[in-house]
């Protein structure tokens, strides 16, 4: 069996990963942020938003149309019944 590895190897590896990881994460975030501010389309935008909000179903907005004015037809004048007297 091999001799137990010194803690320094593990700590060194963790530190190496942590430094590279933090630097790159910050760099990628900054790039995505500047991209969205500058061109409207960030690098991050190539992945859609994590939780896409479902759009509320919009009611169809009917176009407002001025109702045409239709002149009412004149009511036919009432003709008084002709009363004929019968004698």
């Amino acid at each position: 069996m091999t001799a137990p590895r010194p803690k320094a190897v593990v700590i060194g590896s963790l530190a190496l990963f942590a430094v590279l990881f933090v630097l790159l994460t910050f760099q990628l975030s900054a790039k995505a942020t500047s991209g969205s501010a500058g061109h409207g389309k960030a690098t991050a935008k190539s992945q859609p938003a994590a939780v896409e909000a479902k759009p509320e179903p919009e009611e169809p907005v009917a176009e407002y149309a001025e109702p045409e004015y239709v002149e009412p037809e004149p009511e036919p004048e009432e003709i008084p019944p002709v009363v004929t007297s019968s004698s």
Partner: protein, 201 residues
């Protein structure tokens, strides 16, 4: 701009973490494989050089394993991708970039197996372990195909420069090592044959 970074991290955090850990893993695997091949080729001899190279090789390999683990966990937690445990753990299970991601998962298992085997090399047997350790080049090749096929940063000139720039010296060292092993085997055979002739006389 710096103030907006946490906001971007909050909205696309897992994706950015998976990208950065993936790039770090690939870079560290590249360095580790390069150092391993350089050590095997023995361009410079000397105990101090060998000790330093071995320590660097081990540290970069361990750091790469950590990065691979973080990469897998970040992808598992990505709410947009939602690969599920099977998608991250079983090769060729995920629908998106099935082939490239599948090769990445195979590379991760191979890296874990070969990396951990280093600490059990005496139990395995130095000769068998050394033969198995030669498969480490496959981790680099599979990782390269995985990164080019499924990575979000394949269009980055810096990433492409690293991928191409690392492939050339690694290929040269690998071919040199293959040649060295063949020469060494021939020498051993030659010695054995001479020994047999001497024995027979």
């Amino acid at each position: 701009m710096i103030g907006a970074v946490p906001q971007t991290l909050a909205s696309h955090g897992w994706w950015i973490v998976s990208r950065s850990s993936g790039i770090v893993a690939f870079v560290l695997v590249t360095i580790s494989v390069f150092l391993g091949l350089a050590m095997a080729g023995r361009p410079v001899r000397g105990p101090a050089f060998t000790r330093t190279m071995r320590a660097l090789h081990e540290q970069t390999a361990l750091a790469a394993l950590i990065a691979i683990g973080v990469h897998g966990l970040a992808i598992l937690a990505d709410p947009w991708l939602q690969p599920g445990l099977a998608g991250v753990a079983i090769p060729f299970e995920i629908g998106l970039h099935r082939f490239a991601i599948g090769l990445g998962i195979v590379a991760a298992y191979l890296a874990l197996l070969l990396g951990v085997s280093f600490y059990f090399r005496r139990r395995i047997g130095p000769r068998l372990w050394r033969q198995a350790h030669r498969a480490t080049i496959a981790v680099y090749v599979l990782g390269l195909v995985h990164a080019l096929g499924a990575g979000s940063d394949t269009g980055s000139p810096l990433f492409l420069a690293w991928a191409v720039g690392s492939a050339i010296p690694i290929s040269v060292l690998f071919v040199y090592r293959l040649g060295a092993s063949r020469r060494s085997a021939e020498r051993r055979l030659g010695n054995g044959h001479r020994g047999a002739v001497v024995d027979s006389v």
